[in-house]
Amino acid sequence: MGVGIQVESLNAWYGSTHTLQDINLHIPANHATALIGPSGCGKSTFVRCLNRMHETNPIARATGVVKMGDIDIYRDASPVEVRRRVGMVFQRPNPFPTMSIYDNVISGLKLNGFRNRRILDETVERSLKQAALWEEVKDDLKKKSGASLSGGQQQRMCIARALAVDPEVLLMDEPASALDPVSTSKIEDLIFQLKSQYTIVIVTHNMQQAARVAENTGFFLNGKLVEFDSTHRIFTNPHDKRTEDYITGRFG
């Protein structure tokens, strides 16, 4: 099951650039939450702080509290443990090109030391079914490489790979922006189904997509969270003029 995420006074820097400024919000468990905002507003930095990927950059640092359930991920858990609990899917599918579909899906489990063949088989089937890809690849699991799949299939395989380690939170950074409309709608259907089991945070430039898949939406601008509210409220009658100007294209 997913867990709620409590963010308090989160600040992040790249070198001397203050990219996230005093972010406070609660992301409810088992909901999809969309983050929108112009390029460079800090929304991707924000999600990278949720799985401690931000600190992998040597000039980056972050302060504040990020609690997943009862655990403060910056105090009570190692980065490896955090990333096991928080799966991530990126803008462009990133399969391991030399690995089969099967090995792609279980790569995270293998890194964590799992070797039991029966458990691995079951995990591959469960994860690919959750990612709505099982029926399309079940006969080629070990024959085909992950890179031989179509872009949409590769992205669903990456989602299966993220789900295979049984995370509580799934972060998606523009997961459908490189996909055609059919593949995009499959990913969106998937988000809709997965949120009953996981807490999903999705960064998107596609506001219709945010409106379709997310219960709540946050609008970032210049490193600040300008507004966080129900998606319905944000897209029909936002409180903040800056939010309205952005979503109606009156910006810049």
């Binding site: 029909t236 009658n237 939010t243 309205e244 979503i247 109606t248 294209g249 009156r250 810049g252």
Partner: protein, 220 residues
């Protein structure tokens, strides 16, 4: 900046204001026809209905295209929804003008008598409501739209008074029942014009504030 989209929204607004001008003129003409019993003015009203109906379809198509092609959000989405609803109300104002002109044409065949109802005054107030609601639309002024509701109470009261005086008059002068019934229907048509103006004001409030105040219920 979605420059072209916002230019299209401005164009949609301008077309709706043309529609508003035509509907308002149709009511003015129908009341002038009542006042002067000039049946040639009635013909102008009938003629204008065709143009109003054509423009109604054009505006709806423009709005539909913008919804389909631009996927508007927030205030733009509310604006387009308001335009669609106001467009329908203005078309109905045009229909009320035709209804009045039809009554006037029927009265043209009857003796012209003084009736205990001030139709031009009722028309003046109804049209003032329409103008104020449209001015609120032009300015995007929800406070101005609020003030239309109070005017509707006055128009309703005048219509009720017209009903009472004309039904009493029919009892006193049954020979003038046809003229009285036509005047009664015209008063009712003008009261409906006021209702359409009220709807326009509600749509302006929905557009500007995002609040649905229809049917005396407020929700955000």
């Amino acid at each position: 900046m979605r420059v072209k989209f916002h230019q299209n929204l401005d164009e949609l607004k301008e077309r709706l204001l043309v529609m508003a001008g035509m509907a308002e003129q149709a009511i003015q003409r129908s009341v002038e026809a009542y006042r002067t019993r000039d049946l040639s003015i009635c013909e102008l009203v009938f003629h204008s209905e065709t143009a109003i109906n054509k423009l109604e379809r054009e505006i709806d198509q423009m709005a539909l295209d913008l919804l389909a092609m631009e996927q508007p959000m927030a205030i733009d989405l509310r604006f387009i929804l308001s335009v669609i609803r106001i467009n329908a109300d203005l078309e109905r104002v045009g229909d009320q003008a035709v209804n009045i002109a039809l009554r006037v044409r029927e009265m043209g065949a009857l003796a012209n008598v003084d009736l205990p109802v001030d139709i031009p005054r009722l028309a003046s107030l109804s049209l003032a409501m329409v103008r104020k609601a449209l001015q609120a639309f032009i300015e995007g002024n929800a406070e101005m739209a609020d003030s239309v509701f109070e005017m509707d109470d006055q128009v309703d009261a005048m219509n009720d008074a017209a009903y009472r005086s004309l039904t009493t008059f029919i009892k006193e002068r049954p020979d003038l029942t046809p003229q009285s019934l036509n005047a009664l229907i015209i008063a009712r048509n003008l009261e409906r014009v006021g209702d359409h103006a009220t709807n326009v004001a509600e749509d302006v409030i929905f557009w500007v504030r995002g609040a649905d105040v229809r049917h005396n219920v407020t929700s955000n």
